[in-house]
């Protein structure tokens, strides 16, 4: 069959909402796009563990400590599901980690911001996880089967994350003067980076059209961003706090909130590595991996020893 025929069959399947599975023929560009997007997503999950793991040892109550551990542990799980799904496309986890550790692969810029107070655990849960969920729910219907299945599992688990985040902020918002200050300060710092999580504006997002055609992506960056702003602008009222955007106002005609201009300079700078914590985050990942090398080696050496011995026993 010619490549054109294969491509036609492939696109027909996608148009008919038939999932693509690992061994099916797919265009190279589709495979590449998936590997890039899925591994980037996996990297984001495991780098994303760091700013929150920061506060596990400082969590203010035993209940908060337990839920925070469980949450960060979930993120490890999500990274793992996504790496596994990516591996079905023929790229091993070793190689993917290598790309992360050498700076060749990107991860979500949001995790290059610091977690300075306990309220950041709340703001991350509410805003960052909230934005992530908005991005991720449509991916449960992504055209690539293993990706979609991983996302279904992730979305199911993710909903507790956002709720616990909001609960943290709600408690702070009803607390002492210092706690309310903490709460507003965290919202101020996390709001714009969260809004940026949806990526560049549609007219500046070159790969989007193709991804939409392949149904790897189902809504545009700006559509999702608008939805996020609309939802958050209402939720913040329950906290009795404000979002740090003087231009945020309900637009009766559009039935949406208008909001202020995004500082894309900052966005691109953080992506380029100039965020406040880019270096620390990557170093922490590299260190964990390198410090773990002897552990992984030892387990492998032992497994090989045992299987050699069991073969010997069978022969004898």
């Amino acid at each position: 069959m010619s490549v054109q025929d294969l491509e036609k069959i492939f696109q027909d399947k996608i148009d008919a909402d038939i999932r693509i599975e690992p061994k099916d023929w797919m265009p190279d560009a589709y495979r590449k796009t998936l590997v890039r997007q899925m591994s980037q997503h996996a990297h984001s999950e495991i780098v994303g563990m760091l700013p929150e793991a920061n506060w596990i040892t400082r969590a203010p109550t035993l209940r908060r400590k337990a839920t925070l551990i469980a949450k960060v542990q979930d993120e490890a799980g999500h990274g793992l599901y996504l790496y596994s799904a990516t591996e079905t496309l023929g790229t091993g986890r070793d190689e993917l980690l290598e790309q992360l550790h050498t700076g060749k692969a990107k991860y979500s810029s949001i995790f290059n911001y610091p977690t300075l107070t306990w309220a950041d655990m709340g703001a991350i849960g509410w805003l960052v996880d909230g934005a992530a969920i908005m991005n991720q729910v449509p991916l449960c219907r992504a055209s690539y089967g293993p990706y979609a299945r991983a996302m279904v599992r992730i979305c199911k688990e993710e909903s507790f994350h956002q709720r616990q985040g909001f609960e943290i902020l709600l408690t702070l918002s009803r607390g002492s003067e210092a706690q309310r200050r903490m709460c507003q300060d965290a919202i101020n710092r996390w709001w714009w980076p969260s809004v940026m999580m949806f990526g560049p504006n549609d007219d500046a997002s070159p790969n989007s059209a193709q991804s939409m055609q392949w149904k790897i992506k189902r809504f545009s960056n700006d559509e999702l961003r608008q939805k996020f702003v609309d939802v958050s602008a209402e939720q913040v009222k329950i906290l009795g706090m404000t979002l740090p955007d003087p231009d945020l106002v309900w637009n009766e005609d559009k039935q949406h909130y208008d909001f202020g201009a995004i500082d894309w300079d900052e966005f691109w700078n953080v992506i380029k590595g100039n965020g406040p914590c880019n270096k620390e985050r990557l170093e922490a990942r590299v260190k964990a991996h390198e410090d773990g090398a002897w552990v992984r080696e030892a387990a492998m050496a032992y497994a090989e020893k045992v299987s050699r011995n069991s073969v010997k026993k069978e022969i004898a």
């Binding site: 591996e87 986890r93 299945r149 080696e297 387990a299 497994a303």
Partner: protein
């Protein structure tokens, strides 16, 4: 030497009476560890009562390119389904 642990496919029985179902995969040095990892990764929310692990390299799959010759021939064999047979309504328990 690459110290990447082999990949394992994980199958979970969610409750007694159901089949084991593919849950995903993970890396482990040996089968014992794969089962424990599967317990921690795929049953954190009480999703399982039994776990199977198979090293991924031992799974052999049918080839999707041959899907036509493999699966289409079953299309015209409706006589394998009970509804193919026309029987009077009075007939009970069949």
């Amino acid at each position: 030497m690459s110290n990447q642990w082999p990949l394992w496919e994980i199958f979970i029985r969610s409750k007694q009476g159901l089949d084991h179902k593919h849950a995903g995969s993970l890396h482990a040095a040996d089968a014992e560890m794969a089962i424990e990892n599967a317990r921690d990764v795929y049953t954190r929310r009480m999703e399982g009562v039994s776990i199977w692990v198979v090293e991924s390299k031992h799974i052999h799959a049918s080839n999707p390119d041959e899907a036509a010759s493999f699966y289409d021939p079953a299309n015209d064999k409706v006589y394998r389904h009970p509804t193919f047979y026309d029987l009077p309504d009075e007939l009970k328990h069949m």
